[in-house]
């Protein structure tokens, strides 16, 4: 695959830094601007960029949908788990102060760090899931269309009618949705 060489190389360079920036926003969130929501979205954006450039199948191979769906639940469990831990340690639900037996402030730091990690995990996983779902849907639609003998993409389309062809494509995919 030689096409789109420039985006491919650029994405290769950028994606590690996007993921790293996501982790920075995640874990620096209690000292600077940031937190789980923003970090989750940034992290997911890295994965989505990868999927856009290298194709959905490739991305699904790297981060499988099954794994993502586990992460969705896991993030919520991390959040709620901290709450349950504080309950068991004798505090109220999500009273992080009890997490450290010596200094409540340390406990609060620890608590907010862990629950934000839970938030980040779920947000990233949900963003990726939504992308997989929508992109996967387009793929299914395209496969169905290319199976259709009347609609072979090989037939040359005059330029003047290309916009009409697009419109009819859109209609076809609409019809697919309805089915």
């Amino acid at each position: 695959m030689i096409e789109h060489l420039v985006p491919r190389i650029l994405a290769k360079l950028l994606i590690p830094f996007i993921l790293l920036f996501g982790l920075y926003v995640q874990f620096h969130g209690d000292f600077g601007p940031g937190g789980g929501f923003q970090a989750g979205v940034i992290f997911a954006a890295g994965i989505i960029l990868y999927a856009l450039i290298y194709g959905l199948d490739q991305a699904r191979g790297v981060i499988t949908p099954g794994f993502v769906s586990i992460l969705v639940a896991l993030g919520l469990l991390i959040y709620a788990g901290v709450g349950v831990a504080t309950l068991l340690l004798g505090g109220e639900f999500l009273n992080y102060g009890v997490l450290d037996s010596h200094d409540p402030v340390h406990g609060q730091h620890l608590g907010i760090l862990i629950i934000e990690f839970g938030v980040g995990t779920t947000v990233a996983a949900v963003m990726i899931t939504i992308f997989y779902q929508f992109a996967g849907r387009l793929q299914i639609t395209r496969e169905l269309e290319s199976d259709d003998p009347d609609d072979t993409p090989d037939t040359p389309v005059p330029d003047a009618q290309s916009s009409d062809a697009q419109a009819s494509d859109a209609q076809a995919s609409d019809a697919q949705e309805r089915r």
């Binding site: 969705v72 709620a80 068991l88 004798g90 109220e92």
Partner: protein, 503 residues
């Protein structure tokens, strides 16, 4: 490992948090259970635990008074407070109880109506929905109500759409649009109140609203809140999402939602109308509650008349629900202790009655494959136990004496009669609407008992796992029709505490 200020884990002290946290933690765990019937068994177990918590909380409230729980150890009004008094303890009991009864019923219904590979997600959504409704009910924080409302709404859309019927998708989408509109209105209302008072805690709101109450912002907030909540509980004319939502969702979902979702929204209305706006003098001459009356009357008349003309049993029951919501709104609209008692007790009685009726309809759907009324011919002979339960619960819907439906209507009529000539008119309308209920229940009885079954496929009686919950709710209708100590007394206490705060 405990600090000086916190003396170890106490189950009893943390019950208010656990009421919401248990289903919330259970939902993600449920998505990991992929083996057959695993998610169902787990959801049932969680539901039983949640019901036990609700019963214990109600007992505590009745003996020791209001319970306040500080989330995260932050004192109200800064932190989120979970505040349980008679009214929300009662609603918690209804919601968790219905979930516990509906889950055994759900096993066979969901097996048939939801694809096997989606079961873990279905029950996770069920638990999230339960978590959301319990959260709305238990919290004493206006913004927290909105958050839990979104949790329960989003999972409700998923539950409705989870069936095999493709029409369920449009029904869920319709509800999504209207539900989001309602939630947005509620958020705008809460936002306006926050701008005017700087607080989100409901008790604190009620205290601080006094000086700023005679402003356009607060009036607009009240209007946004009432319209938003009315959308959520499908008060006429904001009822369009309800018939399709209940008719095309899987039967177990219809049972669960019809018996709980609208009740929780009615509770939110009570909370805002009486606890927050109740004490405001500027609203006194507006006769705030009475604004509901015309809509309530229209709801039970239109609902009952529309129910008569339905061709599908589930849709018929859904339209009847719109009518019953009208009765609750009528009780609330009267604004007197008796009216409120009637409205609150009808929340409970209608949950039992409509739960039983939707269960019977779902059992018929399982055996016959359709709930079109013409296809139900002779069902009284082929499914005698299900049909008998349907008829008995139908009596409760009509309000025949000895049923719980009679108790609600009795108090409703009593409350109406205190209002002079207008009261006689209202009572007459309630009785007229009950006669309409006789007509639509009779339509089913006629088809079920006096028509010959269409030959062909052999129709079997519903399985025991559906009959037991069905009969439990049906007998419940009669138990609470004869023994009103629990339902009416708690409702009266709840009504008095709501109006007591207003005074």
């Amino acid at each position: 490992m405990s600090t000086a200020t916190h003396a170890g884990f106490s189950l009893l002290a943390n019950l208010p948090a656990l009421q919401v946290v248990v289903p919330m933690v259970a939902a993600p765990i449920c998505t990991f259970l992929r083996f057959r019937n695993g998610p169902w068994a787990f959801a049932l177990l969680v539901s039983a635990a949640v019901f036990w918590i609700a019963v214990t909380l109600l007992q505590q409230v009745l003996t020791h008074g209001v319970i306040s729980y500080e989330m995260g150890g932050w004192a109200p009004p800064i932190g989120i407070e979970y505040r349980i008094d008679e009214i929300n303890a009662f609603v918690l009991l209804i919601v968790s109880g219905i979930s516990l009864v509906a889950l055994p019923y759900a096993l066979r219904s969901v097996e048939r109506e939801v694809p096997q590979d989606k079961h873990h997600l279905f029950y996770a959504a069920w638990l999230l929905c339960l978590c959301g409704m319990l959260g709305i009910t238990i919290t004493g924080d206006a913004f927290n109500i909105f958050v839990f409302l979104e949790i329960s709404s989003l999972s409700t859309y998923m539950l409705i759409a989870s069936g095999r019927d493709p029409r369920a998708l449009t029904a869920a989408f319709q509800y999504l649009v209207l539900g989001t509109l309602g939630a947005t209105f509620i958020l705008i209302g809460v936002g306006l109140l926050y701008i005017m008072t700087g607080t989100l805690n409901i008790i604190d709101l009620a205290d601080r609203l006094g000086p700023v109450s005679d402003t356009t912002s607060v009036r607009a907030a009240a209007a946004f809140l009432i319209v938003g909540i009315a959308l959520k509980f499908a008060l006429f004319p904001a009822h369009f999402w309800l018939p399709n939502g209940y008719a095309y969702s899987p039967s177990a979902v219809a049972v669960f939602l019809s018996a709980t979702a609208t009740k929780v929204s009615v509770y939110v209305l009570l909370r805002f109308e009486f606890t927050v706006f109740g004490g405001i003098e500027a609203f006194d001459d507006l006769h705030f509650a009475r604004l509901l009356l015309p809509f309530a009357i229209a709801a039970f008349l239109v609902g009952s008349i529309a129910a008569i003309f339905q061709t599908d049993l589930k849709r018929l029951l859904a339209w009847s629900s719109i009518a019953q919501i009208g009765y609750m709104a009528l009780g609330i609209g009267l604004g007197t202790p008796d009216g409120l008692t009637a409205g609150i007790v009808h929340m409970f009685n209608h949950a039992l009655t409509k739960g039983a009726l939707f269960m019977a309809a779902g059992a018929m759907f399982l055996s016959i494959g359709s709930t079109r009324i013409t296809n139900l011919a002779g069902v009284g002979k082929t499914m005698p136990f299900t049909t008998l339960a349907f008829v008995l619960a139908g009596f409760s819907l009509i309000g025949v004496p000895t049923t719980s439906g009679f108790i609600s209507k009795w108090y409703l009529v009593l409350a109406a009669l205190q209002h002079g000539n207008a009261g006689y008119f209202l009572a007459g309308l309630v009785l007229f609407s009950s006669i309409l209920a006789v007509i639509y229940i009779w339509r089913i009885v006629e088809v079920a008992y006096f028509r010959e079954p269409a030959g062909g496929a052999v129709v079997k009686e519903a399985p025991l796992s559906m009959l037991l919950p069905l009969w439990a709710l049906t007998l419940g209708c009669y138990f609470f029709g004869l023994e009103t100590h629990y339902s009416v007394d708690i409702a009266r206490q709840a009504a008095e505490s709501l109006l007591g705060i207003a005074r």
